[in-house]
């Protein structure tokens, strides 16, 4: 407990160095430097220079950061990238000989670095040492993954912790001894201590494998793998295939186990019990593993029950530490821009003419309350720079206001109608769908690398005329915007060619001028919906990009992919502004908070992280899913997050408190889409099991506000009320539901490809 703050910092360093650096060309390193940029610089506007190294302010900063720099420098040197190293050294303002006294091999450099960075008060040297070792070795690890086959001595550093060991034949006895002990303790402690089984099992198995005790390891695995919780089955399968020391190189799952500590939350009583037992038995082997590979988050109070533990566990690296979810999150919404007032008047007039003065009243009230009261939880308007509204945006806002007055109030007794858009003949495979906010366009990403855009209104899609033709038109005329369009190109469907792999993510810009698509080919492309051509290809991921999404205010967008980092981009920069690193496996889905200040990412490591766009910090880690997360949705008020995973469950999270507040069971297959209705009363979920389900979100969140969840300890007690909250299940014939969208009037649109 005592070293908690340092731990979290070291975690940051580790995480930053855990980025995949896909290949050894310079671009890769620029990215890693950009990451330093996120640690150092804080304003998004400034952090957008051409090369990322330019971001590094020549401030050596606190010794922590200097260490990081040194580690990176050392890595650059080792990789014979003298030039980059020199630049970095200059930028960081480090002395010429900053690296000289360090040894050539990475393992030796650990103490040197620690010494060179000077003593930090209050930090004991050994923990610092281990931290640097981990970070530098992990950094060295990164390129290894890409350049398979290259002999990297550094792998041994990562694994070296496994080399010290006792008699392999005793492992069995150790583990069974512990098992017996845990089974014999009081019931209230047993559930908590049972959490130890899985991480211990994994690390003991890996130690055995590392020390070439293949047969012992196999026997160990076979004997005890059945005891593990069923939600770890996926990881156990990976482990089971890993039987040789050689396999450990380049196995990402293994690296995750090694480089991140498995987090357990245990009450103080249970912990004391365990400690006493291990000391009595002189069971140093297990004690060592606990010390080295586990992070035990001790809390005071009642031990948790089995169901409480099960609700939170399941992620690749245990639960989130409590500190991780303590940061303040400004989850409130931004104030709506002022332009609405004049528009309101227009609306009133229009409505008065129509003779329907009733409708304006509730609307005006809601508007008034919104603009008057500054939400205490909302971020400052200028916390991150947002693009200014253009005239067309203002027009759109007017449309939005008008539409929202006609919005249907949904509720448990007033369910939305669902209009299903079926993609027929999509034999090549539909992989992504998006609908514009005003529901006028639908775009589909396909496995054959194409992106197709449909107009679902009578208004056809038209291209802008060619430059030569544009010269001919009268620029002063009122309908110039109409004149620039080429009537001859009008059609319901436009196909965008450009990607060279399946398109996994797709997103319209809020102003409907652009479309983003992310693909297996590692690029994100920005398409113009005026010319229907590709404008930019954003490179950087180098591995499949699983998802991308525009900010609700446009300009920014986020992407995440197989390389385990999420990137924040601005449309006018070809390099990312922020890199969000920390996930232990692929980032499968990304979503912007409605106030655009935060980004949520879901991952195959079965966690959800919330990142602050301003400083790139991870401000929330949500654990509890038992499978890769494939869908995320923020409630319209920004307070809650819903997530869906391959385990078929929807989990609801309170962002402010950082707690799980609900579990919706019912789906039988992966959930690919989640969406709140415009006023947040209904949550719709669409799944691979060919159903759309509607949930009473209002009730789910209302119930909990009366509850006092014990925020102090971070415990939750979920009641199982999925059946009460389920308002409807709608089966399609044979169409998985890939996308859901509430129109501005609260009609639910669903989309998917018919799968005969």
């Amino acid at each position: 407990n005592e070293s908690a703050p340092q731990e979290s910092e070291s975690n940051q360093i580790v995480s930053c160095s855990k980025i995949h650096i896909p290949s050894n060309h310079l671009g890769g390193f620029n990215r890693s430097n950009a990451n330093d940029g996120r640690l150092l610089s804080s304003s998004p506007g400034a952090g957008t220079g051409g090369t990322a190294t330019g971001n590094n302010k020549p401030a050596p900063g606190p010794p922590e950061e200097q260490q990081t720099l040194l580690a990176v420098l050392q890595f650059l040197k080792k990789s014979k990238l003298a030039e980059s190293a020199e630049i970095l050294r200059r930028e960081a303002g480090l002395p010429e000989d900053a690296l000289d006294p360090k040894g050539t091999d990475a393992s030796g450099s650990g103490p040197g670095l620690a010494a060179g960075s000077g003593q930090v008060d209050g930090v004991d040297a050994s923990s610092l040492l281990s931290r640097v070792t981990v970070s530098s070795s992990a950094a060295a690890q990164a390129p290894k993954k890409a350049a398979a086959g290259e002999d990297q001595p550094d792998v041994s550093v990562v694994l070296s912790a496994y080399s010290q060991q006792g008699d392999p034949s005793l492992y069995d006895a150790y583990y069974s001894g512990l098992k017996r002990f845990i089974e014999s303790v009081l019931d209230c402690h047993r559930a908590e201590l049972s959490q130890l089984f899985y991480p211990l099992f994994v690390h003991m198995y890996l130690e055995l494998v590392y020390n070439n005790n293949e047969s012992v390891a196999k026997a160990f695995f076979e004997k005890f793998s059945g005891d593990q919780e069923c939600y770890y089955e996926q990881d156990l399968r990976i482990l089971s295939s890993l039987t040789k020391k050689e396999h450990m190189k380049g196995n990402e799952t293994l690296l995750d186990f090694r480089t991140s500590k498995f987090v357990l939350r245990i009450s103080r009583d249970s912990y004391q019990l365990l400690k006493r037992h291990l000391q009595e038995r002189q069971n140093n082997q297990i004690w060592n593993i606990i010390q080295e590979h586990l992070y035990i988050d001790i809390f005071d109070g009642m031990p948790r029950s089995k169901s409480q533990i099960d609700a939170m566990s399941g992620s690749l690296a245990g639960e989130a530490r409590r500190e991780a979810n303590k940061a303040k999150v400004f989850y409130g919404l931004l104030k709506e821009p002022e332009i609405e007032l004049p528009l309101d008047d227009e609306d009133e007039e229009a409505e008065n003419e129509e003779g329907k003065p009733k409708k304006k009243k509730p609307k005006k009230d809601s508007m008034g309350s919104k603009s008057k009261k500054q939400d205490p939880n909302a971020p400052l308007q200028t916390r991150i720079p947002l693009p200014e509204l253009k005239d067309s945006d203002k027009l759109d806002k007017i449309m939005y206001m008008k539409e929202s007055t006609k919005r249907i109030r949904l509720g448990s007794d007033n369910l939305p109608s669902i209009c299903f858009y079926t993609f027929l003949n999509a034999y090549q495979g539909l992989t992504a769908v998006d609908v514009t906010d005003d529901s006028s366009l639908i775009a589909g990403g396909f496995a054959d690398s194409t992106v197709r855009v449909w107009s679902v209104t009578p208004k056809k899609l038209r291209k802008v005329k060619s430059a030569a033709d544009l010269n001919l038109i009268d620029k002063e005329s009122d309908d110039v915007l109409e004149r620039i369009m080429d009537e001859k190109t009008a059609s319901e469907l436009k196909i965008l060619y450009g990607h060279s792999g399946p398109v996994y993510g797709i997103s319209f810009s809020p102003d409907r001028n652009y479309l983003l698509s992310s693909s297996e080919d590692g690029t994100i492309r920005l398409w113009s919906l005026q010319t229907f051509t590709c404008l930019v290809g954003y490179k950087g991921h180098n591995y499949p990009v699983w998802d991308t999404q525009f900010s609700p205010y446009g300009y920014y967008f986020v992407s995440g992919g197989h390389d385990r980092v999420a990137r924040l981009w601005a449309t006018d920069h070809y390099q990312p502004l922020r890199i969000f690193a920390g996930h232990l496996a692929d980032i499968t889905c990304t979503r912007f908070h409605p106030n655009s200040n935060y980004v949520a990412t879901g991952s195959s490591d079965r966690t959800i992280r919330l990142w602050d766009v301003l400083n790139g910090n991870c401000v929330r880690i949500f654990t509890g899913h038992k499978g890769p997360i494939h869908a995320l949705a923020f409630s319209p008020n920004g307070k809650f997050l819903a997530s869906g995973a391959t385990d078929g469950r929807v989990l609801l999270w309170d962002i402010g408190h950082g707690l799980m507040v609900g579990e919706l069971k019912g789906h039988t297959d992966t959930i690919y889409s989640l969406r709140f209705s415009r006023d947040g009363e209904i949550l719709a979920s669409g799944s691979m099991d060919n159903t759309v389900r509607l949930w009473d979100a209002m009730k789910a969140f209302d119930d909990l506000e009366t509850d006092d969840f014990t925020a102090a300890t971070g415990h939750i007690h979920l009641q199982d009320n999925s059946q009460e909250l389920l308002l409807g299940t709608y089966m399609t014939k044979s169409t998985p539901v890939l996308h859901l969208h509430f129109t501005r009037r609260n009609l639910l649109l669903a989309a998917g490809a018919y799968n005969p």
Binding site: A148, F221, P416, T422, P502, P544
Partner: protein, 638 residues
């Protein structure tokens, strides 16, 4: 259970033989055992790793099936060059071979003649992706339209009707429970909700929505209206729409009431329309009709046996209606008869009773016979054949006796033709040849001679049909010593079949098309047994070649070098020729392949080859093989 599975996962490693085989395929002769073990472990691990990555691509591709492109993408992730061009039309493209004590699976690569590819016409361009919108739900209620799945599956309808208390309908669930609660509180004996629910059930009303009421009106009007095109559309809708179950009670009542009224009024046309509605309802696969048989069956039976169905019995063709209704009856007996409702036996009893009654009119008599005859050969054999003499006498009385009335005479004529039609085929099957007129007369009385000629006709027709089947399915090229079985054109079972090759590892395969009863208009499609892996040239079409033999040739078909020397030979043995009992399968194809040198001498003998390859064993083989072949499996074995 999970434990077991995991243990297996842990231990699954490619066999070392595979390593050896693969080494040989790339020219490494003698691979050491140790190397094999090391290699197989390493390869297994890498394959698992790639499979894990490929799963990711499957998930993101929003599929449940792993495809080869997923594997390719996973390889790309690992910086390994993907396997180009590995795209298979078949589910598992591997062929099995054994020989020399080793078993192999290999990927069959055929030699492709480029000119063939160039000359074949281009396939049709697949349809482009299109977007279609429909209402999945309207204010919380799923509309019953073809785009949506049937609101209540047949299973659900069934449980609903058999276990009314367990009904859980999505829409009415809440209402039901609320009412149930209210009921239970009011019941004086607070015994619980269950009682309340029992009493509640009959009260639940099935209200039709406005749309459904409109639909019902439109459909019923079209069905009995004058516009034939509209009627066809309406019947089509009844036969295919998935959401009709709520209207089923209405339709059922409509039909039964309609029949009741129109029989009295002798409105033949309307009766026919109503029967067509019954047929359409029975054709709808989503309806659970069992609940409404009590209304439908009396209506149908009425149309079969009613004394008078039309205003002018001497002119109008009410016989056709009786036939049609009889077929409907037979169909519903077939589908709905169970041990509990005993429909078939009850219907049979009713019909027989009135058939045996002397006072029965000719029209009713005709209906009874038609109804019974449609129930199948067994019913004809046990119930109608013994009556032939009696009926014959009755007919004779009308035909040759004093003219009673024209109507009676017409009735007698129709009964006579009906009896001849149905009985002849049955007699042809059960009665040994030769057909002697005198014997027939002795046995069947007045109808005997006519029956005899009909039976003879039926027999010749049967053989003719069998030969026709031969012609359409077998090409026998006489001059050459080999026979190849081929499907001529695409007449067989409609629709182009993809060439499917059944693999038979050893010995022989065959097909035995069993002829249906001659009364059945369409002969059953012929079954093919195809022996695979022969010389490449022949395999592109539906040419069926056999390469393994009944002769003691040990060369297995899967050895490519050997097959080319083998010439397949097909022998046809016709069991339908006179002399064999009618109950045996009429014909049988025995397919063997022999070395070409030997075959010429065998050829003449082929027709007299004894049926030593017993039909039983062959049938067994057929069933086995059939299940493997998508093309053949649609044909159900008798």
């Amino acid at each position: 259970m999970a434990e077991e599975r995991r243990q297996k996962q842990c231990s699954v490693v490619l066999p070392t033989e595979s390593m050896k085989a693969m080494a040989e395929s790339v020219g490494v002769g003698q691979l050491q055992e140790d190397s094999c073990v090391a290699l197989s472990e390493e390869v297994s691990y890498r394959i698992k790793e790639i499979a894990q990555d490929a799963l990711k691509f499957m998930h993101h591709g929003k599929r449940r099936k792993l495809t080869t492109s997923d594997i390719d993408n996973a390889l790309k992730l690992k910086n390994v060059e993907p396997l180009y061009g590995f795209q298979s039309q078949e589910f598992i493209p591997f062929r099995f071979a054994s020989g020399g004590g080793r078993e192999l699976h290999f990927y069959e690569e055929k030699e492709v003649d480029l000119s063939d590819i160039i000359n074949t016409p281009l396939p049709r361009v697949p349809l482009d992706v299109s977007l279609k919108a429909h209402w999945l739900s309207i204010e919380g209620v799923q509309p019953s339209i073809p785009e949506n799945p049937p609101p209540a599956s047949k299973e659900q309808q069934k449980t609903e009707s058999t276990e009314p208390l367990k009904v859980v309908k999505p829409g009415q669930e809440e209402k039901g429970t609320i009412q149930g609660k209210g009921q239970s509180t009011t019941t004086p004996d607070g015994k619980g909700k269950e009682k309340g629910l029992i009493r509640l059930k009959p009260r639940s009303t099935h209200e039709l929505s406005v749309e459904q009421q409109l639909y019902y009106k439109e459909i019923t009007e079209a069905c009995v209206g004058s516009c034939e095109a509209k009627r066809a559309e309406a019947l089509q809708s009844i036969a295919t729409d998935p959401g009709l179950y709520q209207m089923l009670p209405r339709f059922s009542t409509f039909i039964s009431e309609g029949v009741r009224v129109n029989v009295v009024q002798n409105n033949l046309a309307l009766l026919i329309y109503l029967m067509r509605m019954v047929k359409a309802l029975m054709d709808n696969p989503t309806l659970y009709l069992e609940k409404y048989l009590h209304e439908l069956i009396p209506a149908v039976v009425t149309c079969i046996v009613s004394k008078q169905l039309c205003l002018r019995p001497d002119v109008d063709n009410h016989w056709a209606l009786r036939d049609f209704a009889a077929r409907l009856m037979a169909q519903s007996c077939k589908t709905f008869s169970t041990t509990t409702n005993n429909i078939q036996s009850r219907v049979t009893k009713t019909l027989t009773k009135s058939l045996f009654d002397d006072k029965t009119q000719w029209t009713t008599r005709y209906g009874c016979i038609a109804g019974l005859a449609e129930l199948g050969a067994d019913v004809i054999k046990t119930l109608i054949l013994p009556r032939l003499t009696v009926e014959g006498a009755r007919i004779k009385a009308v035909m040759e006796g004093p003219v009673v009335s024209n109507i009676d005479k017409i009735g007698a004529e129709h009964v006579q033709t009906l009896l001849l039609k149905h009985c002849a085929s049955v007699i042809a099957k059960i009665r040994p040849q030769p057909d002697n007129v005198e014997q027939y007369r002795a046995e069947y009385g007045y109808l005997g001679p006519m029956l005899c000629s009909h039976v003879v006709k039926a027999r010749t027709q049967a053989t003719l049909q069998a030969q026709q089947v031969n012609r359409t399915t077998l090409t026998i090229t006489q001059p050459r010593p080999t026979l190849s079985v081929s499907q001529s054109g695409l007449t067989g079972s409609g629709g182009p079949r993809t060439p499917s090759i059944i693999k038979v590892p050893s010995s022989l395969t065959l097909m035995s098309p069993r002829p249906g009863t001659p009364s059945q208009p369409s002969p059953p499609a012929t079954k093919y047994i195809v022996m695979g892996t022969s010389a490449g040239a022949a395999s592109t079409q539906q040419v069926i070649t056999l390469s393994s033999s009944q002769s003691a040739s040990p060369v297995t078909s899967t050895v490519p070098s050997a097959t080319s020397t083998l010439q397949p030979l097909v022998k046809l043995e016709s069991g339908g020729t006179p002399g064999l009992t009618a109950s045996r399968p009429l014909q049988k194809y025995i397919v063997v392949s022999l070395p070409s040198s030997a075959s010429s001498s065998l050829e003449p003998k082929s027709s007299v080859l004894p049926t030593s390859i017993s039909s039983a064993s062959l049938d067994g083989g057929i069933k086995l093989e059939r299940s493997e072949s998508p093309g053949v499996s649609t044909q159900s074995p008798h």
